[in-house]
């Protein structure tokens, strides 16, 4: 035991320098070349930072494409899901309430056309995306509020839809912040 204490201390110090000092500094140094310089990429409108490209935002107003419900109200100072179990009666009541609210704000939409992501909270509470269906079901409402044609909005959603990775892997998605920035610029 004793003969191992010396090497244990010395090896620990060496490894701390290598792993906890040199390694993260090298990563931070190379990451300066990455988009955003390793600080996170921001989205700017008229010279003002309105958000981070990857972090979702709370959009609840009728004139915007609404984002998903969030357990942390999209405040990225923290992050969390609701952690509600599938059979929790209170949880199911809140889902029902979200469905009712959605139907009030989007009259004419058939209930079974509402995709689940619009009435369920994401894992991070910061989900930046919607599925294309989740965006398109909101078009009628936005067209009415903004007096725009549904065709133009449809085109806008299509333009902002990112297909699967390399066209092969994973789901398609729409970044809600980018979509709403573009929406504000439509004339």
């Amino acid at each position: 035991m004793k003969s191992h204490i010396g090497p244990a201390i010395r090896l620990t110090v060496v490894m701390l320098v290598l792993l906890a000092v040199i390694y993260p500094l090298v990563v931070a140094g190379i990451a300066k070349l990455a988009p955003g310089g390793g600080k996170g990429e921001t989205v700017t409108v008229n010279g003002k930072v309105v958000g981070y490209k990857l972090i979702g935002q709370k959009f609840t107003e009728d004139r915007y494409f609404n984002s998903r419900p969030s357990a942390v109200e999209y405040n990225a100072a923290g992050s969390a899901g609701s952690n509600k179990g599938p059979s929790n009666p209170d949880y199911l009541k809140s889902v029902q309430a979200r469905i009712d609210t959605f139907l009030v704000h989007n009259p004419g939409v058939q209930k079974d056309a509402i995709p689940a992501e619009l009435v369920t909270a994401s894992g991070s509470g910061l989900d930046p995306d919607l599925s294309p269906a989740g965006a398109k079901i909101q078009i009628a409402r936005i067209a009415r509020v903004r007096s725009l044609s549904a065709e133009r909005l449809n085109q806008l959603v299509d333009d902002h839809t990112e297909g699967p990775l390399l066209g092969l892997f994973g789901p398609a998605k729409v970044n809600v912040l980018a979509l709403n920035v573009a929406l504000d610029q439509l004339k």
Binding site: G38, Y74, A77, G81, G85, P86
Partner: protein, 571 residues
């Protein structure tokens, strides 16, 4: 949907295609044969010199265990002290407080042993100094400890009778310089160039398009997330782990993180085959583990794609599957795949919230951790598999009426006793711990802890019980994922899981290494017609049966009270 299936199938395919050459490479590294990373030799010599280590000194298994445990004890004290004082130390741009003693105890142990149970949130519970200097440091060295222990085990399979089985320090250093550090650097770069922050800037504040003022936590996360997966540690930089868009920005990084966490555990199996020159045996182990994985994976994927039946009753569509706790950019299929690989191996990182998984998925996640030997964590999976192997050899020996032997060495009473104790211990820790928690919940609901027992559970009924069962199972398996609704940052959970963590880690390391050491000293009997061959499908089936029966007998009653009951009540 096709692209989501393709994503998962290709991810697994790439993992195996990488694992085979990586296994060969690992075997060469640990056999001291020429390999691609020999240019690291000067760095290694420097580390040995500064560390005061004689790399040529061979040690027996007891000395190696003492070396391993001594340095681990030192890390524990170091981590505990820093976490307790982090609030007044530098590199704390967000002004986060020091941890309470019970939380620091739990956090230090849980990172020391490669579990990464987190009873805090990364954004508010630690500082950049402790994230890097304690948690990330431990992610590297705990993984290297696991690999070194597994290689010590490999050596005992060699045909020559040997007193000495290698040098822990050398195996430990090489695991870092030739595997964990270089590969982490590559993964960190991929993450950084896809949007994961890597700079030391603190929290940002901004006003959103709708006029809300919000913060955005950041920090040098890319390097941390790389080793978190490569070392099967699983502890996240951010609270939401790899569901967080900065921790796992897109489908590409999701594939990379899924590959990174599975590749070394699978490679270790092939490394064993190359190391002891029994490739068929390695394939038998791989096949048993893969069948086990698929039996857990397929039901989970199908359940998640089917959506939540209770939500279907509300009349809305679930075209992509169950979405509560899941991210749109991954979808339920990749989330289901992740939830099983992360519990089957001991990573415990998540890209969806397991508390919101469907009941059947929760069952499968729990089973993955209860078995804890299908691939298993870096090193630890093979160690766990080893005692199932010993029991299987023993039972088959009895069935055919021969003295059980493994690779030319007789398996006798002492070895089988150690293996049985290790196998039974996990059932005791998981069920004993859960029972104790349930007892406090019922009888001491008002105990004045940071979270009162009556407020522990985030969900009522069967699901609430599962939250407690999951926490204990995850601790014992050194997994680190959680049903995160559980209010676990308080006196009871911090200490109770801390103790389960220690027992769940060191006993499964000490047991197999001791067995291996005992076997290695025995006289080598060359294999003959009377030897039970272990590299056949028949024997693979035998191991599988042993795993299945031990797990079912140990855990089925507990599963019945929790997720299975929820499954049958959810219609």
């Amino acid at each position: 949907m096709t692209t989501e299936w393709m994503g998962v199938i290709v991810t697994y395919g790439i993992t195996v295609l990488l694992a085979i050459p990586l296994g060969k490479f690992l075997a060469n590294v640990f056999k001291d044969e020429p390999n691609a990373f020999d240019f690291m030799k000067p760095l290694e010599r420097l580390i040995y010199r500064l560390g005061g280590i004689d790399p040529s000194r061979e040690m027996n298994w007891k000395e190696n265990l003492v070396a391993l445990l001594t340095i681990n004890a030192l890390w524990l004290i170091y981590a505990f002290v820093l976490l307790l004082t982090q609030g007044s130390l530098p590199l704390n741009p967000d002004g986060n407080p020091s941890q309470t003693p019970d939380l620091a105890f739990n956090t230090a142990i849980s990172f020391l042993i490669n579990c990464n149970l987190q009873h805090y949130s990364g954004e508010s519970g630690v500082t950049y100094l402790t994230q890097l200097g304690v948690l990330m440091f431990l992610q590297f060295v705990s993984a290297a400890t696991g690999i070194a222990a597994a290689v010590l085990l490999f050596r005992s399979f060699m045909p020559k009778p040997v007193e000495t089985v290698g040098n822990f320090y050398v195996l430990f250093v090489k695991s870092i310089t030739r595997v964990l550090l270089p590969f982490s650097l590559v993964i960190a770069m991929i993450l950084a160039f896809n949007g994961t922050p890597a700079s030391f800037d603190g929290k940002d504040t901004l006003v959103t398009m709708q006029g809300d003022t919000v913060g955005v936590s950041r920090g040098p996360a890319a390097g941390f997330i790389a080793i978190k997966h490569l070392g099967t540690n699983g502890g996240g930089w951010f609270g939401a782990n790899s569901a967080h868009p900065l921790e796992n920005p897109n489908y590409l990084t999701n594939m990379v993180e899924m590959i990174a966490q599975v590749v070394i555990p699978i490679a270790m199996i092939f490394a064993l085959g190359f190391f002891i020159n029994r490739k068929r045996f390695a394939w038998v182990i791989y096949a048993v583990m893969t069948v086990g994985l698929l039996m857990l994976l397929v039901p989970t994927i199908l359940t998640e794609l089917g959506g939540n039946p209770a939500i279907a009753h509300l009349g809305i569509g679930q075209p992509t599957g169950a979405m509560e706790g899941k991210e749109v950019r991954f979808g339920p299929l990749a989330s289901a795949y992740w939830s099983i690989v992360t519990t089957v191996i001991s990573t415990g990182s998540v890209n969806s919230m397991h508390d919101s998984s469907m009941a059947m998925s929760g069952t499968m996640e729990l089973l993955g951790m209860m078995v804890n030997a299908f691939y298993g964590g870096v090193g630890a999976g093979l160690l766990n598999f080893y005692y199932f192997l010993i029991i299987a050899v023993f039972i088959s020996g009895l069935m055919v009426g021969r003295t059980p032997e493994l690779f030319g060495r007789k398996v006798e009473a002492r070895e089988i006793k150690i293996a049985s104790i290790v196998a039974l211990l996990s059932a005791f820790l998981v069920k004993g711990g859960t029972a104790l928690a349930a007892w406090f919940f019922i009888h001491y609901g008002d105990a004045s802890w940071a979270v009162k027992p009556s407020a522990w559970l985030n969900n009522p009924g069967f699901h609430g019980f599962t939250e407690m069962l999951y926490e204990m199972t995850s601790s014992n398996a050194n997994n680190g994922s959680g049903f995160e609704g559980l209010g676990d940052n308080n006196f009871f959970w911090n200490y109770a899981t801390g103790i389960v963590l220690i027992m769940g880690r060191y006993i499964p390391i000490i047991g197999p290494v001791a067995i291996a050491g005992l076997l290695a000293r025995k006289k080598y009997v060359p294999e003959s017609a009377g030897t039970l061959p272990v590299d056949t499908p028949t024997f693979g089936l035998m191991i599988f049966a042993v795993i299945f029966i031990i797990t079912a007998l140990s855990f089925f009653p507990a599963l019945t009270l929790g997720p299975l009951a929820e499954y049958f009540s959810l219609k």
